[in-house]
Symmetry: C2
Subunit: 503 residues, 2 copies
């Protein structure tokens, strides 16, 4: 019996691996026109998070489509916030549960900057910026080209995954293929508004989410090189503001210049002391907690295309910070002067010694770095430079007591998250994704940007990875957001494959 | 005959020295009520430079008063600008000509911030901020106290000198004392609007101003220690803006932070490189051209009260720039970060690597420093730090060519001016001022602030000194501008004395 079970498992795995891509392609060919129509219908419902009536229309529509496919749904609700659609598709005998996270809300729009109405989807021969022209929506599969694009808000960010998931369910059912895991669909309605209640939703529904063994975040664009990618982590984020002090009121720069301390000078000296000539941070301990990459991750890094030269040309940069490649730099915590202010510059500049100077410092964190400890290190450095640290603007007594004073206002923040590529379940996901994406698939240890993925990896203690499907030039958050049809097809293949990973 | 002449000269000098103070005091006692009334009348005429109808009323009134005292007047006019009142009081046999510069315009007012209407003079028992209460204007000299104050716009800045000059003419005439110099009264009407046409006025009337041997600038307050002072110079002023560059558009600090160059970091490093830990400028050659003080000036410096501790307490400063005293610091050129800007700070701060960072740099100059050369030195320093200097925002080609780029926008400016205390005519002025001010008189080599005095000292090549009479707390340029009666009396004595310096 045991032997036969192993043979069957092998066969089913082999068949899936061989067939799911072909089955998907056949399904797309037979249903492509209909898939695009359903996608268009979904895109026609405005979905800005604060527009609750329309948000609810989106939720109702999506629930209807899930129910049609046999998914049990419930709405997780908190008063005044967009609900979370929680869909459950239990598989008899499945030993694990995989959740697909998607957000059905989108960024607000400024219609004046769009070529067409963002809530009336339009169909183009290719990207508008590449000379695409409007076409009628296709009525037969022959009319469809992979370079065609659909323009509407949330095409890429983040309604495409919803359509691809719904289609994947259809095609598995049509081919009588049973998913290999219990499936959960966790569709959030306020990601673009900051996911402010996400943690609360997770806490309030712990019994629902605790059963989930793997979170798949269906969001974001593929790699700038256009190659498909899986992303295993994000950087964390925190920051602080530092204010330095001169005289207690702005002084005439003639009567006092060369005597009154200049806060912009003090601030500049402090900032300059934080980095070396290469742009590396020289604050004691700043890189100490960085968790090194595993061998698998190191191997994966070698397979990521180097885009440095293209980026430099595009962004007008001769000399980036640091000596490593762009990809390697994202694996280190960052310290960025995102704002400076003191007195005025330009036409408003006055002949004063200003009273204060302020720097807004943004910090990105990588796996291993604690947001609070990282800020402690910066504060220790500020003290080492001779500054007395205060939390409020100093009174005159404090000013008279200390030769250099810095007010430090710490931002909150959250840590990085990174899921190991070595976990068996992740190896299965990688293998299955390669079945549809090919060996070209990029395995990116971390994004440079930040998402609160730690809520899942650290709070819920579950592996979580990001599955981007949108084209890299999908204009997410901006005007003329769009989805390339080829990427939509890729999404359908990927979802189908991940619903049927090795048992 | 020659011997007799010398005896007479000696006697007249001796008599003047002994008597002018007493004669002034007697005249003030006999005419104080009337002097204050005339002052009040003058102060009642609004005098903002752009208010030409009222400016002309001021000029008409002042001309009338000058004419009454036998001064020949003419108005130097340029279309659309406040005229200069040019009064001439030639003295038979006088071998030199002294000009009294005053400005009859005043700063604009924001009435809402004044205790009383700035154009309806009020009389107070003492300074309002010290608890002074309103009084009726005095009707007899017994009612007048030196601590009394008159409140109105331009009381101190700069109508008091006009009244003291008019009174000094009265008292000399009443006592049949002949001035020892030809007197010129050069009353400007747009000093508070920037004296934009002053140079043109001087050029256009060169034959009138070339005959002047000494310029006395009657303006400004006495020393912070309340002691009377003569001021022999001003610092010059110039400056520049420096912009450093990151990516050619603001980038997401997550996706690019730690790789994209940060303009605020580059700017901070550049600024930090300009000064040492003490706050002294370490740009090569920055202090090289400073003209050293003469022995007389060094001696005068020793007699200036040290106000550092009071200033530090008042301004909340523990550690001023440099190791010298406040007075000594003003004798060096300055470099002040008067403004910084990059991205945003506070609530507007965004998660970006900004595209640019800008510093507005103010520079004060002392005698010997050329404004253009001083800026050249800063530019040489910027280049030494590895920056390629541009004059306009760089295009992409330029950005790709140079690792560090700084746009430098030079301000115009003008040099410092300082009149030697050792000139015989200046020694006479000092001696005479001491007759009325006592040995307490402060001889200040330079103000920290800037005035275009170089137009007189360098362009006309004539000695020029500043004679402040207003109380140090006269609130010039601000609300509740006022004049202390004791300072008004001091002004009358000083003007009388200076009209009768040694022949």
């Amino acid at each position: 019996m045991r032997f036969i079970a192993i043979i069957l498992l092998f066969l089913s795995t082999f068949l899936n691996a061989q067939n799911i891509k072909k089955l998907s392609e056949k399904h797309i060919e037979e249903n492509g026109v209909q898939i695009i129509q359903e996608y268009k219908t979904l895109l026609s419902i405005p979905n800005v998070a604060f527009d609750l009536p329309n948000i609810n229309k989106n939720a109702d529509y999506i629930i209807g489509e899930l129910n049609k496919r046999g998914v049990e749904t419930k709405l997780l609700r908190m008063v005044g916030t967009p609900p979370i659609i929680y869909g459950s598709y239990p598989i008899k005998g499945a030993k694990r549960t995989i959740a697909f996270y998607v957000h059905y809300d989108g960024q607000p729009v400024d219609k004046s900057t769009w070529t067409n109405d963002p809530w009336e989807p339009t169909y183009y021969s290719r990207a508008i910026y590449e000379g695409g022209t409007p076409l009628s929506f296709p009525t037969s599969f022959d009319e469809i080209d992979e370079e065609h694009r659909i323009y509407a808000r949330s095409t890429g960010d983040d309604k495409a995954p919803i359509i691809t998931i719904l289609t994947a369910l259809n095609l598995l059912q049509a081919n009588k293929i049973k998913p290999t895991s219990n499936l959960i669909f966790f569709f959030e309605g306020q990601e673009e508004a900051g996911s402010k209640q996400l943690q609360q939703y997770l806490n309030d529904n712990r019994e629902l989410v605790d059963e989930i063994d793997l979170w798949l975040f269906c969001d974001g664009p593929v790699h700038q090189s256009r190659r498909p990618q899986l992303v295993f982590g994000v950087r964390g984020v925190t920051g602080m503001e530092i204010t330095t002090y001169g005289p207690n009121r702005p002084l005439h720069s003639g009567h006092y210049g060369n005597w009154a301390p200049v806060p912009g000078q003090l601030l500049s000296e402090l900032i300059a002391s934080m980095k070396d000539d290469e742009g590396d941070v020289i604050i004691d301990g700043f890189y100490d907690d960085v968790e090194p990459l595993s061998d698998t991750e190191i191997q994966a890094m070698k397979n990521i295309p180097r885009i440095d030269e293209d980026l430099k040309k595009e962004l007008g940069i001769n000399n980036p910070e640091g000596t490593e490649s762009y990809n390697e730099r994202l694996l280190k915590p960052s310290l960025t002067i995102r704002g400076l202010s003191s007195g005025n510059t330009g036409k408003l500049a006055r002949n004063v010694v200003p009273s204060t100077a302020t720097a807004a410092i943004g910090m990105r964190l990588v796996k291993g770095c604690d947001p609070e400890k990282q800020k402690d290190l910066v504060e220790a450095h500020i003290r080492k430079q001779g500054f007395h640290i205060v939390r409020e603007d100093p009174d005159n007594e404090t000013r008279l007591k200390y030769s250099k004073i810095a007010k430090v206002t710490r931002s909150s923040g959250y840590p990085a998250a990174r899921t190991s590529m070595d976990l068996p379940i992740i190896q299965s996901v990688i293998g299955r994704a390669k079945d549809v994406a090919g060996e070209d698939l990029i395995l990116l240890p971390t994004l440079g940007g930040s998402l609160p993925l730690y809520l899942f990896t650290d709070e819920l203690n579950k592996p979580a990875i990001i599955l981007p499907i949108a084209n890299h030039d999908n204009n997410q958050h901006a005007a003329d957001e769009n989805m390339r049809i080829g990427n939509l097809w890729y999404g359908i293949k990927l979802m189908s494959a991940l619903m049927t990973i090795d048992k």
